[in-house]
């Protein structure tokens, strides 16, 4: 696949009878278009695709005390032959040490539960916005998007002040006599769920809103006219038709949440870390680059199906023009 992939079926391909000058002009503009494509294409090949290949390569090397801290995969032997050394120890190590397995399972469990919670919290919000008058709708949408623009890190930090032992929730509960002793909410799975739902909620609401807003209201009216009750209309008509939005929103939450580092590092329980934190620590505390690379490769393999599903959805959306 060449990077400067020429657009082969342009909508404005020249008809064969045009003059030489016109054809030359066409060729010039075609190369112009090729440049337009080639520059971002090359950038992504070098800075997005190539790095993954390097991660795979280093995951098959051994850690050593050197600069860079891993062995080279290939070297020339004395008689000029190329010898390639692949080590699968790092992957074996991931299976042997339960830290990694439980890291993956924890991450998948926490991401799945948070995605479900996001859906439960986000669906009525999206539905409520879709059923508002058009003028209020835009304001409500901006209000949903706005937190996404403001710092992710600071929004997680805000919760540290609320969940703290001397934080707002504990103070209020103690004040009203609901509890005698402050409860430990920081460094628990509960705090991580809360953090993920809080920071990823806009990603769930927006795709849900897009599908709900497109829905033909006459469908609801028809169902109502036929004697369905409100919740029945919802279960029989609205919910099934909004499945594409549920899938898209779910993937937008689930995939990044599985590799989340900041939320578990600030709010989570250090004794049962998610895999993102394991990877980070492997790299920075243990300085074992090959094992960290293997952790990343396996995480990517786990996420490959959801990522392809997301891409499929994204491409269909782009073609539909929304």
């Amino acid at each position: 696949m060449s990077a400067a992939a020429e657009p082969s079926a342009l909508p404005h391909a020249a008809p064969p009878h045009r003059s030489l000058a016109a054809r030359l002009a066409d060729a010039a503009s075609r190369s112009w278009q090729a440049i337009l494509l080639a520059v971002p294409y090359l950038w992504l090949l070098v800075f997005f695709l190539a790095p993954f290949l390097i991660v795979v390569k280093i995951s098959l090397a051994l850690s050593e005390i050197a600069l860079p801290p891993y062995t080279s995969l290939w070297q020339w032997t004395e008689d000029g032959a190329l010898s390639i050394q692949l080590y699968f120890q790092n992957y074996a190590y991931l299976i042997e040490d339960t830290l990694y397995l439980s890291g993956y399972l924890n991450a998948l469990k926490i991401a799945a539960i948070s995605t479900a919670l996001c859906l439960i919290v986000g669906y009525p919000i999206a539905y409520g916005i879709a059923r508002s008058a058009p003028t209020t709708r835009n304001i409500l949408l901006l209000l949903v998007i706005l937190p996404f623009w403001t710092s992710f890190l600071l929004r997680i930090y805000a919760w540290m002040g609320i969940l703290n032992k001397q934080g707002l929730i504990n103070n209020v509960l103690v004040f009203f006599g609901v509890i005698d002793q402050p409860i430990e909410m920081m460094n628990t799975d509960f705090a991580v769920y809360l953090g993920i739902v809080y920071s990823y909620l806009p990603f769930m609401v927006l795709p849900l809103y897009v599908t709900l807003e497109k829905m033909d209201p006459s469908l609801w009216e028809a169902a109502m006219d036929l004697g369905s009750r409100r919740w029945q209309v919802f279960v029989d008509v609205t919910l099934p038709l909004s499945v594409p939005g549920i899938v898209a929103g779910g993937l937008l939450v689930f995939i990044p949440a599985t590799g989340e580092y900041v939320i578990p590092a600030l709010l989570g329980n250090p004794s049962s870390p998610m895999i993102g934190r394991v990877l980070f620590d492997e790299f920075y505390s243990n300085r074992d680059w090959p094992v960290a690379s293997a952790v990343a490769v396996v995480l990517l393999i786990l996420l490959v199906v959801p990522i392809l599903m997301f891409q499929h959805y994204q491409m269909r959306q782009a073609e539909e023009g929304k």
């Binding site: 404005h12 800075f47 997005f48 901006l142 937190p147 805000a158 995480l299 539909e320």
Partner: protein, 277 residues
């Protein structure tokens, strides 16, 4: 259409917005707290703001972050616009599947993977060609361009999908060359989307912690990196003050940006209908 919203939905919407905004507003209120204890109200004070501006580390980190954000947002807007035009207007071309895959994957890719892989790339490149020499502002900027151009491309592509191709085709039929059509028609149509793409890329860069940490080197500490290292040790009131400044600034810019780009789009529509009518 009946815009009927049941009481349940209205209550849920209100609760949802309280959930989204409550913690932020509370943090902003506590930035004016005189007490060092982050959770006890000790009267109104602006001393944390004074302390913040006296802290050279914070100012340096903020300046570095703003520089990286400005450069990476600008390059990401250029590259993302090119990618968005290619995806929306070039039809089928060889390697399209790989290209669109690489454009959308960064939207969901876990940051630890992107960060680690870019770091390993930079190390390998330095070993092979001696560039980039060491890591710091340059490598962070390249990393930010890579993930934020994906967001810009999606914004541009969806904007182009809404714009009627016939406008560009008409210009083409009237004898304009494609490059000219791009400059005269397509880019002006895209201007509002490019502005929101730039803003999005700017805030994404300003906000990024994980990828910056991986691709940074000694001496280059961005604002989120500094905040993270302080916050890990517990609550500090000057971070509340810093958060308030950042949130107010970003909100102002985003709201103004949205209003202006809506105005431009609206004016275009009005002018368009006038010239047609």
């Amino acid at each position: 259409m009946r815009h009927g919203r049941s009481t349940f939905l209205t209550v849920w919407l209100v609760a949802g917005f309280v959930f989204l905004y409550g913690p932020i507003l509370l943090m902003m209120a506590y930035s004016f707290n005189a007490s060092r204890l982050a959770t006890v109200w000790g009267g109104f004070s602006t001393k944390w703001y004074g302390e913040l501006f006296a802290n050279k580390m914070v100012i340096d980190a903020a300046l570095l972050s703003l520089q990286i954000a400005a450069v990476s947002a600008t390059v990401a807007t250029i590259l993302g616009t090119m990618a968005g035009i290619a995806l929306a207007r070039f039809g089928r071309f060889r390697g399209r599947l790989l290209f669109s895959g690489m454009v959308t994957a960064p939207l969901v890719m876990p940051e630890v993977i992107t960060g680690l892989s870019l770091l390993l790339l930079f190390v390998a490149m330095e070993g092979a060609f001696g560039w980039p020499a060491g890591r710091g502002m340059m490598t962070i900027t390249i990393a930010h361009i890579t993930f934020s151009m994906a967001y810009v491309a999606v914004v541009i592509q969806s904007r182009l999908a809404q714009v009627d191709v016939s406008l560009e085709e008409a210009a083409m039929d009237l004898g304009s060359r494609p490059a000219q059509v791009l400059v005269d028609i397509t880019l002006p149509l895209l201007a509002p989307a490019m502005v929101s793409g730039w803003l999005l890329a700017f805030t994404l860069s300003l906000d990024d912690l994980v990828i910056s940490t991986f691709t940074s080197g000694p001496g280059a500490t961005t604002l989120p990196m500094l905040i993270f290292s302080k916050v890990r040790l517990g609550l500090t009131p000057d971070i509340n003050a810093l958060a308030t400044i950042i949130i107010v600034a970003v909100t102002t810019v985003v709201v103004i940006g949205t209003v202006v780009s809506n105005r431009i789009q609206h004016r275009r529509l009005v002018e368009g209908s006038r010239s047609r009518g």
